[in-house]
């Protein structure tokens, strides 16, 4: 049992590593130019020349997905980075200062958690205009209260432990002690949560991309791959399958890595 668990964890790691390689070297290893049109051969079924077929403009589906890896992963990093950037100080101050500050900060977190994230991201997109970066910053903001809660509960667990009290005795400043001594000991659940948020933010990203508020055409992205192929679902259904499978497998891999990290870092 434990052996098979290990195996699928390593498969998940290998898949994410492959995505990173494609992200870094994609432009040099794609089989075709992802925006080159071949109007004589639209909707080609999968073949040796085009492994995943071609789309309505005769563009190679595989090449477009490969080039889309970069914005997809960068978008995930922006979202999770934003969530950490806002959520970590938020949870740290709530958990460490406590009292009324804690109460107010956590009420705000509760209120934000209830708000439908996709709607908030759409409103922010209306304000700042459709772009991948803005929509992912919006998604990161939506997730920041989740991070804040996890950080807070981690901080609460260690704040009155002896080693933290000793740092106070040494007269170290509050922010320094939080950053240097409290946070590292509360980090494990935060890292796990951030891994899980990577999967969630990818789902949100392709959703927004499908709605047309992500990366703008003709540049290929995983989200726009759905929007571009869906109108032709009767003629060429496999063009809608490919991006869905890629997204689902990526999210599964990220969840699997998050689960394994949780088991290893926080114990059963």
């Amino acid at each position: 049992m434990s052996h098979t668990i290990r195996l699928d964890f390593y498969v998940a790691l290998a898949f994410v590593a492959l995505l990173i390689v494609i992200m870094l070297f994609g432009p040099w290893i794609v089989p075709y130019d992802p925006i080159a049109q071949d109007l004589r051969h639209p909707f080609a079924p999968p073949s040796a020349a085009h492994w995943l077929g071609s789309d309505n403009l005769g563009r190679d589906v595989l090449s477009r997905l490969m080039i889309g890896t970069r914005p997809a992963l960068i978008g995930v990093l922006i979202a999770v980075g934003m969530a950490a950037l806002v959520g970590v100080p938020w949870g740290l101050s709530a958990g460490y200062v406590g009292g009324l500050t804690d109460l107010v900060l956590m009420r705000i977190a509760d209120a934000m958690l209830v708000f439908p994230g996709l709607v908030l991201a759409l409103v922010l997109t209306a304000i700042f205009g459709p772009s991948l970066r803005m929509s992912m910053i919006a998604i990161g903001l939506v997730y920041s209260p989740v991070v804040a809660r996890v950080v807070r509960s981690g901080v609460m667990a260690v704040r009155s432990r002896d080693f933290v009290l000793v740092t106070r005795m040494y007269g170290l400043s509050g922010p320094y002690r939080m950053w240097r001594h409290v946070l590292p000991n509360a980090a494990a659940p935060v890292i796990v949560q951030l891994t899980l948020l990577m999967g969630l933010s990818l789902l949100a990203q392709v959703g927004l991309g499908f709605l047309g508020v992500g990366l703008q055409p003709p540049f290929p992205s995983w989200g726009s791959a759905f929007a571009e192929s869906f109108p032709y679902i009767i003629v060429s259904p496999q063009a809608t399958f490919a991006p869905g499978i890629v997204v689902a497998v990526t999210v599964l891999a990220l969840y699997r890595i998050g689960d394994e990290l949780r088991d290893r870092m926080t114990g059963p």
Partner: protein, 313 residues
């Protein structure tokens, strides 16, 4: 219990007001704002100023906010920027579809998730448990709108069992209406059903491991009584709590599913508003969805109080 209901009702107003201030404030950040949308990007500053005066956008912010709020309280949401439609009428026409979609999906999610989670907990670490856990993990990883596309391909195009897109109104006969809602509701509920399954499973496991269940077992009560009457009632509390958040996520997720199935709900209105920078529309739809979520969460809190006297506070 009555006190809880009264207190939650009293909290409703300030929460809804806070939401409205937040949404109003967010939309005010826009550089250029509504006037620039109407006039176009190349318009002269004079034109923009004239339109701003027409729309009342040159008034102080608090006056604009109070005017907006006052209008909404009288059922007047204002007019859309580009086609001058009555936003309030549009919302009244569309909101029932979105609400029906989201609430049906929540109902299906509970209907599927509660028994699956319970079975998973009772037959812990068996093949049943593993299958259910794997399936729910899969449901969490698949984008709902993509599942919608795949099911259109399968059930509408290949098998021709169900209509592909569009919404039949109730007036067209309930069979047609249900047939047109079936795929949207089922695909929207998949992720939520997985979440309900997981919360039910962990809640049930916690309940089944506790002392009072051991006592009930030692008294020789029938397993069905123990599971359904004693364990499930306690396991339900976290599930009911999370269903408030799920309802919010479903209202958001409905935006995507409506887009795939071409359902004329609030989602399509919101997306069009966002792409056309129609701020009054975006602002109003976001407010209606927020208030819906706040009301649902109030009902959830009351349900929790009914289930668990400790949470009445």
């Amino acid at each position: 219990m009555l006190r809880l209901i009264l207190r939650r009702l009293l909290l409703l107003l300030p929460t809804a007001l806070f939401g409205s201030v937040l949404i109003f404030a967010m939309v005010q950040i826009i550089p250029g704002g509504a006037a620039e949308t109407i006039a176009g990007e190349d318009a002269s500053p004079q034109t923009i100023a004239r339109i701003q005066a027409q729309l009342g956008l040159d008034r102080p912010l608090y006056e604009q906010y109070l005017g907006w709020l006052n209008g909404i309280l009288h059922g007047d949401f204002g007019r859309a920027l580009l086609d001058n439609r009555q936003i309030g009428q549009d919302i009244a026409d569309r909101f029932p579809h979105t609400l029906e979609l989201a609430l049906s999906a929540l109902f299906v999610a509970l209907l599927v998730g509660l028994p699956l989670g319970t079975a998973s907990a009772i037959y812990r670490r068996s093949a049943v448990d593993n299958t259910i856990t794997t399936l729910s993990g899969l449901a969490l990883a698949i984008p709902e709108f993509w599942m919608a596309m795949v099911s259109i391909n399968l059930f509408a195009i290949k098998l021709a069992w169900l209509p592909a897109t569009g919404l039949e109104p109730w007036s067209a006969g309930w069979q047609d209406h249900v047939a047109s809602m079936l795929m949207p509701v089922l695909t929207l509920s998949s992720g939520a059903a997985a979440v309900v399954t997981r919360f039910t499973r962990s809640g049930m496991i916690q309940a089944l491991d506790s002392q009072y269940i051991r006592t009930a077992r030692s008294l020789g009560l029938a397993p069905a009584t123990i599971y359904l009457k004693f364990a499930l009632k306690n396991a339900l509390v976290p599930v009911v709590t999370i269903s408030g958040i799920i309802a919010g996520a479903l209202l958001g997720g409905a935006v995507l599913v409506e887009q795939v199935f071409v359902i004329p709900g609030l989602g399509a209105m919101l997306v069009t508003g966002v792409l056309q920078k129609d701020y009054p529309t975006v602002q109003s739809v976001a407010l209606v969805l927020t208030i819906a979520v706040i009301i649902i969460n109030m009902l959830v809190d009351i349900a929790c109080g009914a289930l668990d006297p400790r949470s009445r506070g």
